[in-house]
């Protein structure tokens, strides 16, 4: 059951919230509104697709606080920040935290909608990637301890001959393990293997 990607608007100003709601509605985006960060956290179902349009200054947990909170809970919703009064340190923090954009009110509606489109795209890509990550993770679990050990060495870029010497086995045995690894992971050759596994291994 795939939920429709939803734009979550969090702003303590009811007029701004309603206006954004109407604008997003007119641009055919499903949208939900929240008066505070905690309202959003209470209502949001982790794992459902979408993006956040987030006011920076709010009582309670503010926009940047919510961004940090989501990061710590590994909820990867792309965020577009809005602020009534921008200052450089806030903007820097927001962008370093991975925000799609940081826009000052009154914002340009076209640019906002453009950013919403990008944010939803980014979210879809994130989701596709993590789905793939999950598949790869499941496949890797099928490897024997020896195969997993050899896979690590392959990923370090070591040739079969080197691996054979390091593990004190024959090069032929390494080759046999190697073809079984490729089969179990569902790839045809070493370059496909790299493409599949390396993005997952990069540090967050």
């Amino acid at each position: 059951m795939a939920t429709e990607p939803t734009v979550h608007v969090v702003d303590d100003d009811v007029a701004v919230r309603n206006a954004l709601g109407m604008l997003l509605h007119a641009a055919q985006y499903p949208c939900r509104q929240y008066a505070s960060a905690s309202d959003f956290l209470d209502a949001y179902e982790p794992g459902t697709p979408g993006c956040l349009v987030l006011d920076l200054h709010m009582p309670g947990v503010d926009g940047l606080g919510l961004q940090e909170l989501l990061a710590s809970r590994e909820i990867e919703l792309p965020i577009i920040f809005l602020t009534g009064h921008a200052n450089v340190p806030d903007a820097v923090r927001a962008m370093q935290g991975g925000a799609v954009d940081f826009m000052e009110k009154p914002f340009n509606s076209d640019r906002l909608l453009e950013r919403v489109k990008q944010a939803l795209q980014r979210d879809a890509e994130n989701r596709a990637r993590s789905r793939q990550d999950a598949v790869v993770h499941a496949r890797r679990k099928r490897l024997t301890p020896r195969e997993a050990e050899i896979l690590d060495l392959i990923l370090q870029g070591k040739a079969s001959k080197v691996i054979a010497i390091e593990l004190g086995i024959s090069e032929r045995t390494v080759e046999l393990h190697r073809s079984r690894i490729l089969r179990k992971l569902g790839v045809r050759n070493a370059s496909e293997l790299m493409r599949l596994l390396l993005p997952q291994d990069r540090s967050p």
Binding site: A19, L23, H25, A26, T83, G84, H85, E104, K105
Partner: protein
């Protein structure tokens, strides 16, 4: 007691002696002293009175005292005396009051006048003691004008500190207006004309326009250069207005407010903008003091007693060292990086100009308390 006042050696008539002494007192008195008969005719006019009114004693002796008054008292004076003699009713005898005098050249001036009644064996006379207060009045006016200037400068400074909040406050309705308008255009462009939606958007646009306008007006009133004017004010009303002006600061700093306003407060005669300024200063200070504190509560109270309304503003900040409890009312004293150091000093001047007092106190459990009083006076109407 000094020895100099011992009886003199001369064997002069004691009555004559006393008469001479009284005359000396009259002649050297700083205040004008005038005696009149019950028909209003001037019976004596001392040198100070000559100086004040510009008439010589010979000129006015025997003439009606009304010559020293501007109309309509000039015409009415005879009636005042008759009325008093008949009924004992008086607005002036036995107490001093401020009235307008008229000099020989016709110039008018403010003076303090105290009248007492003298019962002689055969008739009643009145003594008037007159003090020209035009110099004092001018100085007071000058001082008030200076305070006004300073108060205005300080309001501008306060506003400067609030400018980012104000920008935020204005950008909210503007953002809403722009979004509603753009949404309307999209709805119209899509060919699906949902009239209820459009109507709703238009109504919200005009509401938000008014919201922006009222923010601007509120600020305009606050920074406008103006003469001090006293009118009948409701202090609770002013408190609410100040909380409204500061709503952004309060919201953005996540401050809780606790208010306890006495009901049935009488109206006070005060300068609305100046009192607003004092409160704004105290509440803003409280907000600043609580930055980074766990608990952030501003409490506002009004209280009524027999003579005053007392307004209390307290916070849950760190308070202040007792060593600066008076120093902080000095001009240019500040502990803030961006402060002007004028807020409290001007606030105290404003409250004192209203006949009240502004004090600071450290709470035992931490936090600062500022209290000011405004005297009840004679209420709302009249001058």
């Amino acid at each position: 007691m000094k020895r100099a006042a011992e009886p003199t050696e001369s064997q002069s008539d004691p009555l004559q002696e006393r008469d001479a002494r009284l005359r000396a007192v009259l002649n050297t008195a700083v205040d004008g002293i005038i005696t009149i008969e019950s028909d209003g005719s001037i019976e004596s006019f001392n040198p100070a009175a000559e100086r004040i009114f510009g008439y010589s004693a010979e000129e006015v002796m025997g003439r009606n005292v009304a010559v020293l008054m501007p109309p309509p008292h000039r015409e009415q004076h005879g009636n005042y005396i008759d009325n008093y003699l008949r009924t004992g009713d008086t607005k002036i005898i036995g107490r001093g009051r401020e009235v307008t005098g008229r000099r020989k050249g016709g110039g008018l001036f403010p003076m303090e006048l105290a009248i007492s009644e003298v019962q002689l064996t055969d008739r009643v006379m009145f003594t008037g003691i007159v003090r020209d207060i035009s110099t004092r009045r001018r100085a007071e006016l000058e001082a008030r004008r200076n305070l006004n200037e300073h108060a205005h400068a300080s309001r501008l400074a306060v506003l400067g500190e609030m400018v980012s909040g104000i920008a935020h406050e204005l950008n909210q309705p503007l953002a809403a207006i722009v979004s509603f308008a753009d949404a309307c255009q999209r709805i119209l462009g899509s060919g699906q004309h949902d009239l209820t939606l459009l109507q709703d958007a238009l109504q919200q646009i005009s509401e938000q326009g008014r919201r922006a306008g009222s923010i601007v007006n509120q600020l305009k009133d606050f920074v406008k250069k103006r003469e001090a004017t006293r009118s009948a004010i409701d202090i609770n009303d002013i408190m609410r207005n100040v909380l409204d002006i500061l709503r952004y600061e309060i919201r953005n700093n996540d401050i809780k407010t606790s208010v306890d306003f006495a009901s049935d407060l009488p109206k006070l005669r005060a300068d609305r903008v100046q009192i607003e300024q004092v409160l704004l200063n105290l509440v803003q200070n409280a907000i600043d003091a609580m930055a980074g504190r766990e608990t952030r509560v501003v409490s506002l109270y009004t209280q009524l007693d027999a003579e005053n309304v007392t307004v209390t503003v307290s916070d849950t900040g760190p308070g202040f060292g007792s060593d600066i409890s008076e120093q902080m009312f000095d001009a240019f004293f500040t502990t803030k990086t961006k402060g002007t150091g004028l807020g409290l000093s001007i606030s105290r001047s404003i409250i004192e100009a209203h006949g009240g007092a502004l004090i600071a106190r450290q709470q035992t459990e931490g936090g600062a308390v500022f209290k000011f009083t405004l005297p009840l006076g004679d209420g709302g109407d009249g001058d």
